[in-house]
């Protein structure tokens, strides 16, 4: 070890995690591709053809950013939570805790690996979308940057979930019962301007609205809310997750007795 940072330790965990994903690479990649294709066939082609344009964008194209976000939220939370939950469950966490690795290094390794996988899945869905619709990206660099921020934020959130969870059920509950409804109600498939009051106002309390709107902005140059607000919400989420993780490691919460 040199230079004070255990790079080899970070790399060991990162590649261990990537290798774990590699064992299920086909199901990992085929699932989002098939799911996304189904969404395009049902919402894009079957229903979409009867829908009017939204803000001047064809409906099938309109749902592309929302679909990418939907999968990335789920995958990020699932992969990151599983990554840290498994050592807790199998007991191999003893090695992690006894290794010369700082909290930040541990988080960088686990969250970095999970976020890498999320990015890959997001890009695969993006590519799949091209098979069904014309997608033009107004701000490609911002799009990639936004994807990365979302991947990291949700992987941090997933990491916290994995530390918190004490059984497999708890691990599943949050993505399925909290994130999924929030995403569906967060404008993945519609613009909030289509909603009647009071639902439009109520929807504004759902933070996912700002994330999807922001990502959509990078595609079409317009969203339900201003891009500045979207970026602020992502930044806030990132900071809250970092603060919680800082607390987790400081107190040893559910990791260390």
């Amino acid at each position: 070890m040199s230079g004070g940072i255990n790079w080899r330790g970070i790399a060991a965990i990162y590649f261990f995690e990537i290798h774990r994903f590699g064992r299920t690479i086909w199901t990992s990649l085929m699932t989002p591709v098939i799911t996304t294709s189904l969404y395009f066939i049902v919402f894009g082609s079957a229903i979409g053809s009867r829908m009017t344009e939204i803000d001047g964008i064809a409906y099938a194209s309109f749902i592309v950013p929302g679909l990418i976000m939907l999968s990335m939220f789920q995958e990020s939370i699932f992969n990151a939570s599983f990554g840290i939950y498994m050592p807790k469950w199998t007991g191999t966490i003893y090695e992690l805790l006894s290794a010369p690795l700082s909290a930040i290094e541990t988080v960088i390794a686990y969250v970095g690996a999970a976020a890498s996988k999320s990015m890959m899945i997001g890009l695969v869905i993006f590519a799949t979308a091209h098979l069904f619709v014309d997608v033009h990206v107004a701000h490609p660099l911002l799009m990639l940057g936004f994807m990365m921020l979302i991947a990291v934020s949700f992987c941090l959130f997933g990491f916290i979930l994995g530390v918190w969870a004490q059984n497999f059920e708890q691990l599943q509950v949050v993505p399925l019962l909290v994130i999924m409804p929030m995403t569906f109600l967060g404008g993945a498939f519609y613009s909030i301007h289509m909603l009647p009051e009071p639902w439009r106002t109520i929807t504004l309390f759902n933070p996912v609205i700002y994330l999807i709107s922001g990502f959509r902005w990078t595609f079409f140059g317009k969203g339900d809310v201003a891009i500045g607000i979207s970026i602020s919400v992502v930044a806030a989420m990132l900071l809250i997750c970092i603060a919680v993780i800082h607390w987790v490691f400081k107190t040893g919460y559910r990791l260390k007795k």
């Binding site: 199998t90 007991g91 090695e95 805790l97 006894s98 290794a99």
Partner: protein
């Protein structure tokens, strides 16, 4: 000899309120095999878990090779390898990849030659590409040892290394531990098998109810605390102890056919000649005599059952 680990005033109270350790002081010498002996729940695992960084101490300090385990955790953890009691493994990984992973995790550059030697020494080389879940329990334990040694630590902790291991494998394990010590690795093992401590350790620490009640050289301990038993095999069985022997610490065994006399082997006057004389005067006939050195087990049982506090005579050995 230098101490490689120095524990002072170490205490641990769990959130539940259970106090697992009460102010433990202990020094481990470089290059020795130290056996931490104690019944289940005595605090053995808590003590080594704190030193390895898995459990946070409530009070006290631990220095490993002069470095504080909290402030300089990178230096201390790099110097330590831990084999926990339970077989915690990544079932889907292969033997060689899990051992390489451990080496990387501890910040060491990849070294295939060293890993090969390690796996050969542990008779795992032929199984290097097998998934861990395909291995037997004994093999899995060896994989855990290989992981613990993968980063070439100076100190190896073995928590109950032979729990649930068959006799054959236990002997292999002992040989392996001795071999490791010969290469300069300091070994701390916890066990509740007295046989194990007696067989392998240079020094023994006895821990009970979170207190270290004794630390002593094994040989000295055996000599110092070892009482001997003289067994007189009688010609005809006795129903009760004759009045002539009332003042002696004797008891009857084997349905009155044996007379057992416990004496202090270190004492100037063991009392044996006088007892023999007394037997002759009382007209008690015997055809054979045998003496037996008490084992570490007898000492251990005596210590653990003597209650919380260590007897004065024993306490002087602690913190050596």
């Amino acid at each position: 000899m230098n101490s490689i680990i120095s524990v002072s005033g170490l205490g641990k109270a769990y959130a539940s309120g259970h106090v697992a350790l009460h102010s433990v002081d202990l020094d481990i010498r470089e290059g020795e095999i130290f056996a931490l002996l104690g019944p289940n729940g005595a605090g053995k695992t808590t003590l080594i878990s704190i030193i390895c960084g898995i459990v946070s101490p409530t009070s006290g300090h631990v220095l490993v090779n002069g470095h504080d385990i909290i402030r300089n955790y990178r230096q201390t953890r790099t110097a330590i390898g831990l084999v926990p009691q339970e077989l915690h493994t990544d079932a889907f990984e292969t033997v060689i990849s899990t051992v390489r992973f451990s080496r990387g995790l501890f910040g060491k550059a990849r070294n295939d030659a060293y890993i090969e030697k390690l796996l050969r020494d542990l008779s795992l080389w032929d199984k290097r590409d097998a998934k861990i879940m395909e291995l037997s329990g004994g093999m899995k334990r060896r994989v855990m040892i290989a992981k613990a040694l993968s980063h070439e630590p100076r100190v190896l902790f073995l928590d109950e290394p032979t729990a649930g291991v068959d006799v054959e494998l236990r002997k292999d394990m002992w040989n392996m531990v001795r071999h490791l010590r010969d290469t300069g690795v300091t070994i701390i093992l916890t066990t509740h098998y007295i046989e194990e401590a007696e067989e392998m350790a240079d020094r023994v620490g006895v821990i009970n109810k979170g207190r270290l009640v004794l630390v002593e050289e094994k040989d000295v301990l055996m000599r110092k605390l070892g009482t001997k038993t003289l067994t007189v095999h009688l010609n005809s069985p006795l129903a009760t102890i004759p009045d002539a022997l009332a003042g002696w610490d004797v008891s009857l065994g084997d349905d009155g056919r044996d007379l057992d006399y416990r004496f202090d082997a270190r004492a100037e006057d063991s009392g044996v000649p006088a007892l023999i004389g007394a037997l002759g005067e009382a007209g008690i006939g015997y055809h054979d005599l045998s003496t037996r050195q008490s084992s570490l087990e007898d000492i251990f049982v005596g210590l653990v059952h003597s209650g919380d506090a260590a007897p004065e005579a024993l306490a002087e050995g602690t913190g050596a």
